[in-house]
Symmetry: C2
Subunit: 474 residues, 2 copies
């Protein structure tokens, strides 16, 4: 029995979807039951066939229903594993030692506030505009594009938009030809490794630093040299001692500590590169998201000698599901790029690139950036405010005023593992940072990471209150 | 002046698009002219605003118009370079030594019949269904998916469909967990190389063989050992002499010669792999397209000992613009895969995967395969028939009855370069094969490659007629 509320703000298909799903989960619709046909339900509810169809389709794709040809829609057995995976889309560990068919053990504590870093807030994605552009694009006049290989380094239109955007926002100067669209930063880094492996025997990176980049370097056979941090990012003195000519770095929001490298140090770094005939890989992964102070120009923008490979991504500001990253190669490396990757198609599917290019060209990107910057600034401010209020004097916050995460450092030196456990007991998840250190022994052990992009301000405040109870509680 | 024909089979937006484009190209609409606004043109033509909008939008994205904020639509300078690139989307050589702004030299001969291999026929792509599924998917209930990282090895639903399809059509036996969705075969091979580099010092491949695979092996630092072909694919005797434990192979339609490895040889190969503790990389790149005889089961399907990595792609049968390939790893390599790539997101954008999974689950894939198989069989038959009729006794055709290309071998030993040039003079393009040989000295020099996937039967017949004139002509 489905009851629709025409006056509700929830759309009709969402009401149908929600009620059928609820009845399957509660057992009121039994496993294997045949549901009313699209036509008959649309007649009995007085809605269009398409409304029912969209709801059924969604239920099918989520596994609640199955559509059997010429027989109709049937409710499905709800697999416990499916549930766990809906909540944790990218489980860090593959389930080990679990026999097939065995039901996963339910977690002991339901996590109500997950301060994860990576996934974004669903409300921030411009679904309506995306749908509209997809609709304008998926027409027969574009069949040739769907039947052909995309442009190798990425669609011309998208590369133009990226070039224009980077110039305006980050001072990056380049020709369109220098822009290479890739399916994620790991992919970009993999190409860079293959391109530079012969000439550069090893690579240096910040310690602590982005473990994803380190994985790629190691997988590509690069010895990785850790360089510690001083107050404002990379410790230049330590770098100079390394016998290395290739450096991966996150100067504008050091990952994970969030420090910002000042202009003086950027110039020193470029000077070091010049002296040593070195290449800098500048990963500007969340440069769109600044909440305070003036942005510092990218190293690429102050480099006059082609020593910088600039990396960026749409994963933090628009959608990690797009899998669109890009690199800007210096002119001096273009020839080497073509030599190795002349025939590689790096840019991912044509449709995604085409929609994104239109999204940018039509001015939606600029508006979207303003919107997500504001939304994330509010989340950021709520987090900082709550932590300051509830944990005053007990923690130091690192990496404020940018990006989608901060680090909390416990002044009493308490250990990360214990703090994570205490948080989970209250239904709050915060994250470890130890794996970002290459030389684990240097990690003082007293930090946790908190991402804020997927929560509301209210959830953030409530989560921090529970953390206060858990850690310093009554 | 635009005149619409309501009775035409061409849609109204296509008529507007075509006429505006024609007038810009002919110069009747001068560079920089302001076009009527969407509203005024829709009123004067008596069509909906959306019809005009779609047409204008397409003209903008192709560069004929530019949309200036608050000023309207203006015609653009038509760049000669743009034209060349429209016709040759993936130029093999980057234009060298061309000053910026300089107009590219027009080709001396217009190519009317291009027997290229790679791009497909635009009419074969199921645009309508794709659009419909995209519309069902791009709804707010999927915002969470658009705001999150996709499943690391590819969306669960898509991997399930691929697993089911491979089992039915190619006898591939695997669990869903063994299927890894990737953004193209080069990408899959890159991961394989990183995974196996340490244990396997070198890799063997067919000579001649797929140059794209060879590029990846070389770029990943693998010494590549060439193994010649005997009548039915790989020369086993030569393989045995190589001191190698890793082999890349295209057994079901050897690339580029098109030979099919018989079951006896497949079993011998597996026996070799067992004896030498070797891994076979089986690239089944166009297995969907068979026009005669029974398909031979994949090597993966007759391998009981987990010695085969199976590769496939949607580029030949559905769309190279999707950038969806997949690999099926043996159970024995899964642990090593997770060790290296636990956090890699390999499967490309969520939207593409979601549409493709629905396309397969809803039965469209099966219908599509029947359709493209028939369409390509007709093209194949037209090519074989025409060549037999016009070049009887002068050429041998290699690689019939499958895939999207054949090789022609000139019995008189004439050289490929000369033959390509003669063809171009008549406005027909056929392709060299010399670069598929690792040991170029073994290539007899007397072959050309002809792809047939992007032409109509009529074009194929006419093209072959012109080739006959060019090569053996009057």
């Amino acid at each position: 029995m489905i009851v629709l509320d025409e006056t509700a703000t929830t759309s009709l298909y969402m009401q149908i979807y929600g009620q059928v799903k609820g009845q399957i989960l509660s057992g009121r619709i039994k496993e294997g039951s045949r549901l009313p046909s699209i036509r008959s339900l649309s007649v009995s509810l007085g809605v269009s066939k398409n409304t029912v169809k969209v709801a059924y389709h969604q239920l099918c794709s989520e596994g609640y229903l199955v559509n059997l040809a010429r027989r109709g829609f049937f409710s499905q057995r709800i697999d416990q594993e499916l549930f766990v995976n809906l909540n944790e889309k990218n489980p860090v560990k593959a389930p080990v030692g679990k026999a097939r068919g065995e039901v996963a053990k339910p977690p002991e504590q339901v996590i109500r506030y997950d301060f994860q870093y990576g996934n974004l807030n669903p409300h921030d994605f411009p679904m309506g505009i995306w749908r509209k552009i997809a609709n304008q694009v998926l027409f027969p006049f574009n069949s040739r594009s769907m039947a052909s290989y995309p442009e190798r380094k990425g669609e011309r239109g998208l590369r133009t938009e990226i070039m224009k955007y980077l110039h305006m926002s980050r001072g990056v100067t380049c020709r369109r030809e220098q822009v290479v669209v890739c399916s994620g930063t790991r992919f970009s880094l993999g190409l860079i490794c293959q391109m530079l492996k012969e000439e550069f025997g090893s690579i240096a990176m910040e310690d602590p630093g982005y473990d994803g980049a380190r994985d790629v370097f190691v997988n590509c056979g690069f010895p990785v040299l850790p360089v510690g941090l001083s107050g404002e990012g990379l410790d230049l003195a330590e770098l100079i001692q390394c016998n290395v000519r290739l450096l991966y770095i996150t100067p504008s929001h050091q990952f994970p500590t969030g420090s910002v490298m000042p202009i003086r140090k950027r110039l020193e770094l470029l000077e070091w590169a010049g002296r040593n005939d070195a290449i800098l890989i500048e990963d500007d992964y969340d440069s769109e998201l600044r909440y305070g102070g003036r942005p510092i120009p990218s190293i690429q923008s102050i480099d006059g000698r082609g020593r910088v490979i600039y990396l960026g991504t749409f994963s933090k500001s628009l959608s990690p599901a797009l899998r669109v990253s890009y690199m800007v190669l210096p002119e001096s490396l273009l020839e080497r790029y073509y030599e190795k990757f002349r025939k590689y198609v790096t840019g991912g599917p044509w449709l995604e690139q085409k929609i994104l290019a239109s999204f940018m060209a039509d001015g939606h990107w600029e508006r979207h950036l303003r919107k997500v910057c504001l939304a994330n600034r509010k989340r950021h401010d709520a987090l900082i405010r709550s932590v300051a209020k509830i944990m005053a004097g007990r923690v130091t916050i690192h990496g404020k005023n940018a990006g989608l995460h901060v680090l909390l450092e416990f002044k009493d030196g308490s250990f990360e593992g214990e703090r994570l456990r205490q948080a989970e007991e209250r239904g709050v998840r915060v994250y470890p940072v130890s794996h970002y250190w290459i030389r684990r022994e240097r990690y003082p052990g007293n930090m946790v990471m908190m991402g804020f992009s997927s929560l509301t301000e209210k959830e953030i405040e409530e989560g921090v209150r529970l953390l206060g109870d858990a850690w310093f509680g009554r």
